[in-house]
């Protein structure tokens, strides 16, 4: 917990430095894989600073815009009334009733996320909750999608978090987990180790003045179950059609499962 108190402020900067900005691509891929349609209800757990939430909102907004444009294009004989009604629809409901709830156990991360949201102009369809992934304060069968990006490795009881994820998802709902994973290629693995243990804590010290927290991060990555093991854990929680997609040769993996 203390680790994230320290890192909250510099979180985004550190992410960019450590991953050379690639974490942004990983998160983009996650949301593209989700492919949410307008009206989707998302719960983003351990989503502190809002990276996934903002991407989700951008995505559904652009899908909605495209929907409305296509509607206009297909009805060539619209009256002015109908055209202006369509524009009004877009203005009054640009997200199409999509909503994202960001849940994090750390107050500082949430505060940072909320501030970022205000900076970037996000207000609609976004809410923030202080909560524990192992004991979610949400009712059963509520959400269409559950995401946890770079958060599950910090959960003490991953099995409980997965059970909770299953519980709060609607039937048909999707579980998506983006997390550091296992590199099987031996050469790449060695380079990755070198980078992790030699470079990252140094960056942590230089940028955030905190060597130990970033050493912890690197160690937590090493301890985390590899792809197949995590897949099995997700299946144990009841999810079906569980699969994973390696990014960057397994440095990161996206696991997906459905509540069917």
């Amino acid at each position: 917990y203390q680790v994230f108190e320290n890192v909250a402020e510099k979180y985004d900067v550190m992410n960019d430095s450590m991953s050379l900005g690639i974490h942004r691509v990983w998160k983009d891929i996650l949301v593209h894989k989700m492919n949410p349609s307008p009206g989707t209800l998302l719960v983003d757990v351990a989503g502190g600073t809002g990276d996934i939430a903002f991407r989700f909102l951008n995505y559904v907004r652009s899908v909605r815009e495209r929907q409305l444009q296509q509607k206009l294009r297909h009805h060539q004989n619209l009256s002015w009334q109908e055209i202006s009604k369509s524009y009004q629809e877009e203005k009054s409901n640009p997200l199409g009733d999509s909503q994202v709830v960001v849940c994090d156990i750390n107050k500082e991360m949430l505060k940072a996320g909320k501030q970022k949201a205000q900076h970037l102009g996000y207000s609609e369809g976004l809410s923030w909750v202080l909560g524990n992934a192992e004991e979610l304060p949400f009712d059963d069968d509520k959400f269409d999608v559950y995401t946890i990006a770079f958060g599950i490795r910090n959960v003490t009881r991953i099995d409980l978090a997965l059970q909770e994820a299953y519980r709060v998802l609607k039937p048909g709902g999707r579980f998506l987990c983006l997390e550091f994973s296992h590199v099987s290629n031996p050469l790449l693995s060695r380079l990755y180790d070198l980078y992790s243990f030699q470079v990252i804590p140094v960056l942590g010290e230089v940028i955030a003045g905190d060597w130990k927290s970033y050493q912890y991060l690197v160690e937590s990555i090493r301890r985390f179950p590899p792809q197949e093991e995590l897949k099995a854990m997700i299946e144990d929680a009841g999810f079906l059609k569980v699969d994973y997609q390696n990014l960057n040769s397994g440095i990161v993996a996206i696991h997906s499962g459905f509540k069917l």
Partner: protein, 84 residues
């Protein structure tokens, strides 16, 4: 922390009594019992009557960690509690 004003033009008071996003009440339950909560406007808390606990809302963010909740049982569950 940098407290710059947002571009969206929302009001940002630092008062702890800021109520939560109304749509959240659709989803929120007590993390322990998973039972519904009652929003108490006077104290800006979410109350679980059955268990007699209240979760605070700070800066519009509900704190749904059981350890942070306070018990309401010392007095009849009503308005006028001592702690904000």
């Amino acid at each position: 922390a940098a407290g710059s004003r947002g571009a969206s033009g929302q009001e940002q008071g630092p008062e702890p009594g800021r109520p939560l996003e109304p749509s959240l009440l659709r989803f929120l339950v007590c993390p322990l019992s998973k039972r519904p909560l009652r929003y108490e406007e006077s104290t800006n808390e979410l109350i679980n009557e059955e268990l007699g606990i209240a979760y605070p809302i700070i800066d519009g963010i509900p704190n749904m960690i059981p350890e942070a909740a306070r018990t309401t049982r010392k007095r009849p569950p009503a308005e006028g509690s001592e702690r904000p």
